[in-house]
Protein backbone atom coordinates (compact mmCIF):
# COMPACT_ATOMS: atom_id res chain seq x y z
CA UNK A 1 0.00 0.00 0.00
CA UNK A 2 1.36 3.37 -1.00
CA UNK A 3 2.10 6.00 1.55
CA UNK A 4 0.44 9.25 0.54
CA UNK A 5 0.91 12.71 1.94
CA UNK A 6 0.66 12.50 5.70
CA UNK A 7 -2.49 13.83 7.33
CA UNK A 8 -1.86 17.32 8.66
CA UNK A 9 -3.10 18.70 11.99
CA UNK A 10 -6.35 20.64 12.16
CA UNK A 11 -5.90 24.35 12.77
CA UNK A 12 -7.49 26.40 15.54
CA UNK A 13 -10.09 28.91 14.42
CA UNK A 14 -9.62 32.58 15.31
CA UNK A 15 -11.75 33.72 18.24
CA UNK A 16 -13.65 36.20 16.06
CA UNK A 17 -14.87 33.35 13.87
CA UNK A 18 -16.24 31.46 16.92
CA UNK A 19 -17.90 34.65 18.11
CA UNK A 20 -19.49 35.20 14.73
CA UNK A 21 -20.80 31.63 14.46
CA UNK A 22 -22.22 31.63 18.00
CA UNK A 23 -24.02 34.96 17.53
CA UNK A 24 -25.37 33.86 14.19
CA UNK A 25 -26.69 30.75 15.86
CA UNK A 26 -28.34 32.77 18.64
CA UNK A 27 -29.89 35.14 16.13
CA UNK A 28 -31.39 32.50 13.85
CA UNK A 29 -32.57 30.42 16.77
CA UNK A 30 -33.99 33.58 18.31
CA UNK A 31 -37.30 32.10 19.50
CA UNK A 32 -35.62 29.11 21.12
CA UNK A 33 -32.87 31.31 22.58
CA UNK A 34 -35.50 33.56 24.17
CA UNK A 35 -37.17 30.57 25.85
CA UNK A 36 -33.85 29.31 27.21
CA UNK A 37 -32.95 32.82 28.35
CA UNK A 38 -36.40 33.22 29.92
CA UNK A 39 -35.64 30.15 32.06
CA UNK A 40 -32.56 31.92 33.39
CA UNK A 41 -34.44 35.22 33.82
CA UNK A 42 -37.16 33.58 35.89
CA UNK A 43 -34.76 31.71 38.14
CA UNK A 44 -32.67 34.79 38.86
CA UNK A 45 -35.74 37.06 39.20
CA UNK A 46 -37.11 34.77 41.88
CA UNK A 47 -33.83 34.56 43.76
CA UNK A 48 -33.09 38.29 43.59
CA UNK A 49 -36.62 39.29 44.59
CA UNK A 50 -36.54 37.10 47.68
CA UNK A 51 -33.06 38.25 48.57
CA UNK A 52 -33.72 41.96 47.98
CA UNK A 53 -36.97 41.73 49.86
CA UNK A 54 -35.03 40.35 52.77
CA UNK A 55 -32.41 43.09 52.50
CA UNK A 56 -35.15 45.73 52.52
CA UNK A 57 -36.82 44.11 55.51
CA UNK A 58 -33.60 44.07 57.49
CA UNK A 59 -32.70 47.65 56.55
CA UNK A 60 -36.07 48.98 57.55
CA UNK A 61 -36.03 47.12 60.82
CA UNK A 62 -32.61 48.50 61.57
CA UNK A 63 -34.00 51.97 61.07
CA UNK A 64 -36.66 51.24 63.65
CA UNK A 65 -39.52 51.02 61.20
CA UNK A 66 -41.54 47.92 60.76
CA UNK A 67 -43.76 46.55 58.16
CA UNK A 68 -47.34 47.62 58.72
CA UNK A 69 -48.51 44.26 57.55
CA UNK A 70 -45.89 41.63 58.39
CA UNK A 71 -44.81 42.05 61.96
CA UNK A 72 -43.43 38.66 62.69
CA UNK A 73 -41.97 38.35 66.10
CA UNK A 74 -38.93 36.51 64.78
CA UNK A 75 -37.99 39.22 62.31
CA UNK A 76 -38.05 41.96 64.88
CA UNK A 77 -35.72 40.02 67.09
CA UNK A 78 -32.89 39.15 64.73
CA UNK A 79 -33.27 40.88 61.42
CA UNK A 80 -32.75 37.76 59.34
CA UNK A 81 -35.04 34.91 60.28
CA UNK A 82 -34.92 31.21 59.63
CA UNK A 83 -37.94 31.70 57.40
CA UNK A 84 -35.96 34.17 55.27
CA UNK A 85 -32.98 31.85 55.07
CA UNK A 86 -35.29 29.02 54.08
CA UNK A 87 -36.84 31.16 51.36
CA UNK A 88 -33.48 32.24 49.97
CA UNK A 89 -32.14 28.69 49.94
CA UNK A 90 -35.31 27.41 48.26
CA UNK A 91 -35.20 30.10 45.61
CA UNK A 92 -31.52 29.34 45.04
CA UNK A 93 -32.31 25.66 44.49
CA UNK A 94 -35.21 26.47 42.14
CA UNK A 95 -32.89 28.80 40.24
CA UNK A 96 -30.05 26.23 39.95
CA UNK A 97 -32.31 23.39 38.87
CA UNK A 98 -34.32 25.57 36.48
CA UNK A 99 -31.31 27.01 34.69
CA UNK A 100 -29.42 23.70 34.56
CA UNK A 101 -32.52 22.06 33.10
CA UNK A 102 -33.14 24.64 30.43
CA UNK A 103 -29.48 24.67 29.35
CA UNK A 104 -29.29 20.86 29.32
CA UNK A 105 -32.35 20.65 27.09
CA UNK A 106 -31.01 23.32 24.76
CA UNK A 107 -27.74 21.41 24.28
CA UNK A 108 -29.20 17.91 24.11
CA UNK A 109 -31.45 18.85 21.22
CA UNK A 110 -28.31 19.95 19.39
CA UNK A 111 -26.30 16.72 19.70
CA UNK A 112 -26.87 16.01 16.03
CA UNK A 113 -25.56 19.44 15.11
CA UNK A 114 -22.45 18.80 17.22
CA UNK A 115 -21.88 15.47 15.45
CA UNK A 116 -22.32 17.11 12.06
CA UNK A 117 -19.89 19.89 12.88
CA UNK A 118 -17.32 17.29 13.88
CA UNK A 119 -17.86 15.50 10.55
CA UNK A 120 -16.98 18.74 8.82
CA UNK A 121 -13.74 19.07 10.74
CA UNK A 122 -14.59 20.91 13.97
CA UNK A 123 -12.26 20.26 16.89
CA UNK A 124 -13.81 19.27 20.22
CA UNK A 125 -12.50 22.47 21.75
CA UNK A 126 -14.20 24.58 19.10
CA UNK A 127 -17.58 22.97 19.78
CA UNK A 128 -17.23 23.60 23.51
CA UNK A 129 -16.11 27.19 22.92
CA UNK A 130 -19.16 27.81 20.76
CA UNK A 131 -21.51 26.68 23.53
CA UNK A 132 -19.50 28.55 26.13
CA UNK A 133 -19.94 31.79 24.22
CA UNK A 134 -23.62 31.23 23.49
CA UNK A 135 -24.50 30.24 27.02
CA UNK A 136 -22.33 32.95 28.58
CA UNK A 137 -24.16 35.59 26.61
CA UNK A 138 -27.58 34.05 27.30
CA UNK A 139 -26.70 33.61 30.96
CA UNK A 140 -25.54 37.18 31.43
CA UNK A 141 -28.38 38.88 29.56
CA UNK A 142 -31.02 36.58 31.07
CA UNK A 143 -29.67 37.03 34.58
CA UNK A 144 -29.37 40.81 34.26
CA UNK A 145 -32.98 41.14 33.13
CA UNK A 146 -34.02 38.68 35.84
CA UNK A 147 -32.13 40.59 38.53
CA UNK A 148 -33.75 43.88 37.48
CA UNK A 149 -37.22 42.34 37.41
CA UNK A 150 -36.58 40.72 40.79
CA UNK A 151 -35.44 44.01 42.31
CA UNK A 152 -38.43 45.84 40.90
CA UNK A 153 -40.73 43.21 42.36
CA UNK A 154 -39.10 43.48 45.78
CA UNK A 155 -39.30 47.29 45.67
CA UNK A 156 -43.00 47.18 44.85
CA UNK A 157 -43.56 44.74 47.68
CA UNK A 158 -41.51 46.97 49.98
CA UNK A 159 -43.57 50.01 49.01
CA UNK A 160 -46.70 48.14 49.94
CA UNK A 161 -45.25 47.12 53.31
CA UNK A 162 -43.31 50.20 54.33
CA UNK A 163 -44.64 53.00 52.19
CA UNK A 164 -42.33 55.78 51.05
CA UNK A 165 -40.05 55.21 54.05
CA UNK A 166 -38.55 52.52 51.87
CA UNK A 167 -36.70 55.08 49.79
CA UNK A 168 -35.14 56.82 52.81
CA UNK A 169 -33.65 53.62 54.10
CA UNK A 170 -33.18 51.76 50.83
CA UNK A 171 -30.28 49.31 51.28
CA UNK A 172 -28.50 50.14 48.03
CA UNK A 173 -24.96 49.72 49.30
CA UNK A 174 -23.39 47.21 51.68
CA UNK A 175 -23.71 48.15 55.35
CA UNK A 176 -22.68 46.73 58.68
CA UNK A 177 -25.17 47.82 61.34
CA UNK A 178 -24.04 47.81 64.96
CA UNK A 179 -26.42 45.20 66.23
CA UNK A 180 -27.48 43.29 63.19
CA UNK A 181 -26.30 41.01 60.42
CA UNK A 182 -24.09 42.24 57.59
CA UNK A 183 -26.12 43.66 54.74
CA UNK A 184 -24.94 43.13 51.19
CA UNK A 185 -26.98 45.87 49.64
CA UNK A 186 -29.14 45.63 46.53
CA UNK A 187 -26.34 46.42 44.06
CA UNK A 188 -24.26 43.49 45.30
CA UNK A 189 -27.34 41.23 45.24
CA UNK A 190 -27.98 42.17 41.60
CA UNK A 191 -24.33 41.59 40.76
CA UNK A 192 -24.27 38.22 42.50
CA UNK A 193 -27.49 37.25 40.70
CA UNK A 194 -25.91 38.09 37.34
CA UNK A 195 -22.73 36.16 38.10
CA UNK A 196 -24.66 33.19 39.41
CA UNK A 197 -26.96 33.13 36.35
CA UNK A 198 -24.01 33.29 34.02
CA UNK A 199 -22.00 30.61 35.82
CA UNK A 200 -25.00 28.28 36.00
CA UNK A 201 -25.80 28.80 32.31
CA UNK A 202 -22.20 28.22 31.27
CA UNK A 203 -21.81 25.08 33.40
CA UNK A 204 -25.27 23.83 32.43
CA UNK A 205 -24.43 24.06 28.74
CA UNK A 206 -20.68 23.48 28.49
CA UNK A 207 -20.71 20.28 30.45
CA UNK A 208 -23.17 18.45 28.16
CA UNK A 209 -21.56 20.15 25.11
CA UNK A 210 -18.16 18.87 26.22
CA UNK A 211 -19.59 15.39 26.67
CA UNK A 212 -21.20 15.50 23.21
CA UNK A 213 -18.01 16.84 21.64
CA UNK A 214 -16.02 13.94 23.11
CA UNK A 215 -18.37 11.37 21.54
CA UNK A 216 -17.47 9.92 18.15
CA UNK A 217 -19.62 11.84 15.60
CA UNK A 218 -21.55 8.70 14.62
CA UNK A 219 -22.73 8.35 18.20
CA UNK A 220 -23.57 12.03 18.63
CA UNK A 221 -25.65 11.97 15.44
CA UNK A 222 -27.50 8.85 16.56
CA UNK A 223 -28.71 10.55 19.71
CA UNK A 224 -32.45 11.08 19.60
CA UNK A 225 -34.15 13.57 21.86
Amino acid sequence: MQQRTPIEEQIDLPFVESLRISFQSLKIRFGRSIITTAGITLGIAFLVSVWTNNEIGVALQESGRQSTINTFEETTEQGISTKDIWLIVMSLIVCVVGIANSMLMAVTERFREIGTMKCLGALDGFVVRLFLLESGFQGFSGALIGALIGTLGAVLLGLKDYGLDLFFYFPLLPAQPENGPMQLGVIIVILLGCILGMILAVIGSSFPAWRAAKLPPAEAMRTEV
Partner: protein, 244 residues
Amino acid sequence: MADIVVKTEDVVKEYRMGSNILRALDGINIEIERGEYISLMGPSGSGKSTLFNMIGALDRPTEGQVYIDGQNMSQLSQRQIAAFRCHRVGYIFQSYNLLHVRSAHGNVTLPMIFAGISERERNERAEKLLDMVGLGDRMYHLPDELSGGQRQRVAIARALANDPSIILADEPTANLDTITGREIIDLIKRLNNEQGVTVISATHDLKMLDVSDRIVDIRDGLVERIRNRDEIDIEVGEVGGEGE
Protein backbone atom coordinates in the same frame (compact mmCIF):
# COMPACT_ATOMS: atom_id res chain seq x y z
CA MET B 1 0.38 -2.00 -8.35
CA ALA B 2 -3.11 -0.88 -7.51
CA ASP B 3 -3.43 2.38 -5.65
CA ILE B 4 -5.32 1.39 -2.53
CA VAL B 5 -7.02 4.30 -0.79
CA VAL B 6 -8.98 2.45 1.90
CA LYS B 7 -8.00 -0.80 3.53
CA THR B 8 -9.62 -2.48 6.52
CA GLU B 9 -7.99 -5.28 8.49
CA ASP B 10 -10.18 -7.57 10.57
CA VAL B 11 -12.40 -4.70 11.67
CA VAL B 12 -14.70 -5.64 14.52
CA LYS B 13 -17.25 -3.35 16.11
CA GLU B 14 -19.23 -4.27 19.16
CA TYR B 15 -22.00 -2.28 20.79
CA ARG B 16 -23.00 -2.74 24.36
CA MET B 17 -26.78 -2.88 24.74
CA GLY B 18 -27.38 -3.13 28.45
CA SER B 19 -25.89 -6.47 29.43
CA ASN B 20 -25.80 -7.76 25.83
CA ILE B 21 -22.99 -7.24 23.39
CA LEU B 22 -24.03 -6.77 19.78
CA ARG B 23 -21.36 -7.57 17.22
CA ALA B 24 -22.16 -5.25 14.31
CA LEU B 25 -18.95 -6.01 12.40
CA ASP B 26 -17.29 -9.39 12.70
CA GLY B 27 -13.90 -9.03 11.01
CA ILE B 28 -14.18 -7.01 7.80
CA ASN B 29 -11.34 -7.06 5.27
CA ILE B 30 -11.74 -4.92 2.18
CA GLU B 31 -9.51 -2.89 -0.10
CA ILE B 32 -10.79 0.02 -2.15
CA GLU B 33 -8.83 1.50 -5.03
CA ARG B 34 -8.49 5.18 -5.78
CA GLY B 35 -11.18 6.47 -8.13
CA GLU B 36 -13.49 3.49 -7.59
CA TYR B 37 -17.23 3.70 -7.05
CA ILE B 38 -18.02 1.13 -4.38
CA SER B 39 -21.42 0.25 -3.01
CA LEU B 40 -21.76 -1.42 0.35
CA MET B 41 -24.98 -3.38 0.08
CA GLY B 42 -26.91 -5.29 2.66
CA PRO B 43 -30.18 -5.40 4.55
CA SER B 44 -30.80 -3.11 7.53
CA GLY B 45 -28.79 -4.23 10.50
CA SER B 46 -26.19 -5.97 8.30
CA GLY B 47 -23.47 -3.60 9.50
CA LYS B 48 -22.99 -1.55 6.35
CA SER B 49 -23.60 1.78 8.05
CA THR B 50 -21.26 0.74 10.87
CA LEU B 51 -18.57 -0.05 8.32
CA PHE B 52 -19.28 3.30 6.67
CA ASN B 53 -18.68 5.01 10.02
CA MET B 54 -15.40 3.15 10.49
CA ILE B 55 -14.06 4.12 7.07
CA GLY B 56 -15.07 7.74 7.62
CA ALA B 57 -13.45 7.95 11.08
CA LEU B 58 -16.87 8.72 12.54
CA ASP B 59 -16.52 5.89 15.04
CA ARG B 60 -13.71 3.74 16.37
CA PRO B 61 -13.48 -0.01 15.73
CA THR B 62 -13.43 -2.29 18.76
CA GLU B 63 -10.70 -4.37 17.10
CA GLY B 64 -8.80 -4.26 13.82
CA GLN B 65 -7.35 -1.43 11.79
CA VAL B 66 -8.54 0.99 9.15
CA TYR B 67 -5.94 2.47 6.79
CA ILE B 68 -6.71 5.48 4.66
CA ASP B 69 -4.06 6.65 2.21
CA GLY B 70 -1.70 4.25 3.96
CA GLN B 71 -2.25 5.85 7.38
CA ASN B 72 -3.41 3.78 10.30
CA MET B 73 -6.40 5.74 11.57
CA SER B 74 -6.03 4.48 15.15
CA GLN B 75 -2.64 6.19 15.38
CA LEU B 76 -3.87 9.64 14.46
CA SER B 77 -4.20 12.42 17.01
CA GLN B 78 -7.50 14.17 17.61
CA ARG B 79 -6.32 17.12 15.51
CA GLN B 80 -5.29 14.86 12.67
CA ILE B 81 -8.64 13.10 12.69
CA ALA B 82 -10.41 16.47 12.55
CA ALA B 83 -8.19 17.50 9.64
CA PHE B 84 -8.87 14.19 7.94
CA ARG B 85 -12.63 14.71 8.21
CA CYS B 86 -12.24 18.27 7.04
CA HIS B 87 -9.96 17.80 4.03
CA ARG B 88 -9.91 14.21 2.88
CA VAL B 89 -13.52 13.06 3.13
CA GLY B 90 -16.88 14.46 2.13
CA TYR B 91 -19.87 12.94 3.89
CA ILE B 92 -23.38 12.62 2.49
CA PHE B 93 -26.06 11.25 4.79
CA GLN B 94 -29.49 9.77 4.34
CA SER B 95 -31.05 12.50 6.46
CA TYR B 96 -28.83 15.20 4.89
CA ASN B 97 -27.57 16.43 8.28
CA LEU B 98 -27.56 20.05 7.25
CA LEU B 99 -27.30 22.67 9.97
CA HIS B 100 -30.80 24.14 10.13
CA VAL B 101 -29.64 27.51 11.34
CA ARG B 102 -27.39 28.07 8.34
CA SER B 103 -28.46 28.77 4.76
CA ALA B 104 -27.42 26.49 1.90
CA HIS B 105 -24.50 28.84 1.37
CA GLY B 106 -23.68 28.85 5.10
CA ASN B 107 -23.68 25.05 5.17
CA VAL B 108 -21.29 24.83 2.24
CA THR B 109 -18.91 27.42 3.68
CA LEU B 110 -18.69 25.79 7.14
CA PRO B 111 -16.09 23.11 6.29
CA MET B 112 -14.07 25.83 4.57
CA ILE B 113 -14.21 27.95 7.74
CA PHE B 114 -12.82 24.96 9.64
CA ALA B 115 -10.10 24.63 7.00
CA GLY B 116 -9.08 28.26 7.53
CA ILE B 117 -9.94 29.44 4.01
CA SER B 118 -10.39 33.21 3.59
CA GLU B 119 -13.92 34.62 3.46
CA ARG B 120 -13.64 35.80 -0.12
CA GLU B 121 -12.35 32.50 -1.37
CA ARG B 122 -14.97 30.47 0.46
CA ASN B 123 -17.80 32.63 -0.82
CA GLU B 124 -16.57 32.20 -4.38
CA ARG B 125 -16.16 28.49 -3.97
CA ALA B 126 -19.54 27.99 -2.29
CA GLU B 127 -21.26 29.86 -5.13
CA LYS B 128 -19.47 27.74 -7.70
CA LEU B 129 -20.37 24.48 -5.93
CA LEU B 130 -24.01 25.41 -5.42
CA ASP B 131 -24.21 26.42 -9.07
CA MET B 132 -22.77 23.07 -10.02
CA VAL B 133 -25.44 21.15 -8.09
CA GLY B 134 -28.14 23.34 -9.63
CA LEU B 135 -28.95 25.52 -6.62
CA GLY B 136 -27.46 28.78 -7.81
CA ASP B 137 -30.81 30.54 -7.33
CA ARG B 138 -31.57 29.18 -3.85
CA MET B 139 -28.22 29.82 -2.25
CA TYR B 140 -29.46 31.83 0.73
CA HIS B 141 -32.45 29.66 1.57
CA LEU B 142 -32.49 27.80 4.87
CA PRO B 143 -32.63 23.98 4.62
CA ASP B 144 -36.25 24.02 5.84
CA GLU B 145 -37.18 26.03 2.76
CA LEU B 146 -35.75 23.43 0.40
CA SER B 147 -37.12 20.11 -0.89
CA GLY B 148 -35.50 16.77 -0.01
CA GLY B 149 -33.64 16.58 -3.30
CA GLN B 150 -32.42 20.16 -2.95
CA ARG B 151 -31.21 19.50 0.58
CA GLN B 152 -29.26 16.49 -0.60
CA ARG B 153 -27.72 18.67 -3.32
CA VAL B 154 -26.62 21.14 -0.65
CA ALA B 155 -25.12 18.21 1.27
CA ILE B 156 -23.23 17.13 -1.86
CA ALA B 157 -21.93 20.66 -2.43
CA ARG B 158 -20.88 20.79 1.22
CA ALA B 159 -19.16 17.40 0.93
CA LEU B 160 -17.09 18.79 -1.94
CA ALA B 161 -16.17 22.04 -0.19
CA ASN B 162 -12.58 21.16 0.65
CA ASP B 163 -11.93 19.12 -2.47
CA PRO B 164 -11.88 15.68 -0.78
CA SER B 165 -10.43 12.58 -2.37
CA ILE B 166 -13.15 10.33 -0.92
CA ILE B 167 -16.92 10.81 -0.90
CA LEU B 168 -18.74 8.72 1.69
CA ALA B 169 -22.45 8.48 1.05
CA ASP B 170 -24.69 6.71 3.56
CA GLU B 171 -27.98 5.81 1.86
CA PRO B 172 -28.04 9.12 -0.02
CA THR B 173 -31.22 8.30 -1.93
CA ALA B 174 -33.24 6.54 0.78
CA ASN B 175 -35.40 9.57 1.61
CA LEU B 176 -35.92 10.65 -1.99
CA ASP B 177 -38.40 9.73 -4.71
CA THR B 178 -37.18 7.64 -7.65
CA ILE B 179 -36.52 10.48 -10.08
CA THR B 180 -34.78 12.71 -7.54
CA GLY B 181 -32.81 9.70 -6.32
CA ARG B 182 -31.69 9.05 -9.87
CA GLU B 183 -30.56 12.66 -10.26
CA ILE B 184 -28.54 12.47 -7.05
CA ILE B 185 -26.91 9.21 -8.16
CA ASP B 186 -26.05 10.76 -11.55
CA LEU B 187 -24.53 13.76 -9.80
CA ILE B 188 -22.36 11.59 -7.56
CA LYS B 189 -21.34 9.44 -10.52
CA ARG B 190 -20.39 12.55 -12.48
CA LEU B 191 -18.06 13.62 -9.66
CA ASN B 192 -16.57 10.16 -9.69
CA ASN B 193 -15.97 10.26 -13.45
CA GLU B 194 -14.93 13.86 -13.90
CA GLN B 195 -12.97 14.52 -10.74
CA GLY B 196 -11.72 11.04 -10.00
CA VAL B 197 -13.21 11.13 -6.49
CA THR B 198 -13.42 7.73 -4.81
CA VAL B 199 -17.06 7.10 -3.89
CA ILE B 200 -18.00 4.71 -1.11
CA SER B 201 -21.71 4.39 -0.66
CA ALA B 202 -23.75 2.35 1.81
CA THR B 203 -27.03 1.63 0.10
CA HIS B 204 -29.77 -0.79 -0.71
CA ASP B 205 -30.99 1.22 -3.64
CA LEU B 206 -30.81 -1.01 -6.74
CA LYS B 207 -30.31 2.03 -8.95
CA MET B 208 -26.91 2.39 -7.33
CA LEU B 209 -25.84 -0.97 -8.77
CA ASP B 210 -25.82 0.44 -12.25
CA VAL B 211 -23.14 3.01 -11.57
CA SER B 212 -20.95 1.07 -9.15
CA ASP B 213 -17.61 -0.40 -10.14
CA ARG B 214 -17.87 -3.00 -7.42
CA ILE B 215 -20.46 -4.06 -4.90
CA VAL B 216 -19.54 -5.32 -1.48
CA ASP B 217 -22.35 -7.39 0.00
CA ILE B 218 -22.38 -7.23 3.77
CA ARG B 219 -24.35 -9.69 5.82
CA ASP B 220 -24.29 -10.24 9.56
CA GLY B 221 -21.21 -8.09 9.94
CA LEU B 222 -19.18 -9.99 7.36
CA VAL B 223 -18.28 -9.47 3.72
CA GLU B 224 -20.49 -12.01 2.00
CA ARG B 225 -19.12 -11.45 -1.49
CA ILE B 226 -17.63 -8.79 -3.72
CA ARG B 227 -19.01 -8.45 -7.23
CA ASN B 228 -17.77 -6.29 -10.04
CA ARG B 229 -19.87 -4.30 -12.45
CA ASP B 230 -20.17 -6.98 -15.19
CA GLU B 231 -21.75 -9.43 -12.80
CA ILE B 232 -24.06 -6.74 -11.55
CA ASP B 233 -25.32 -5.88 -15.02
CA ILE B 234 -26.23 -9.50 -15.65
CA GLU B 235 -28.08 -9.77 -12.36
CA VAL B 236 -30.02 -6.57 -12.90
CA GLY B 237 -31.10 -7.94 -16.27
CA GLU B 238 -32.30 -11.13 -14.65
CA VAL B 239 -34.29 -9.29 -12.08
CA GLY B 240 -35.96 -7.25 -14.84
CA GLY B 241 -36.67 -10.43 -16.83
CA GLU B 242 -38.37 -12.11 -13.93
CA GLY B 243 -40.64 -9.20 -13.41
CA GLU B 244 -42.04 -9.30 -16.92
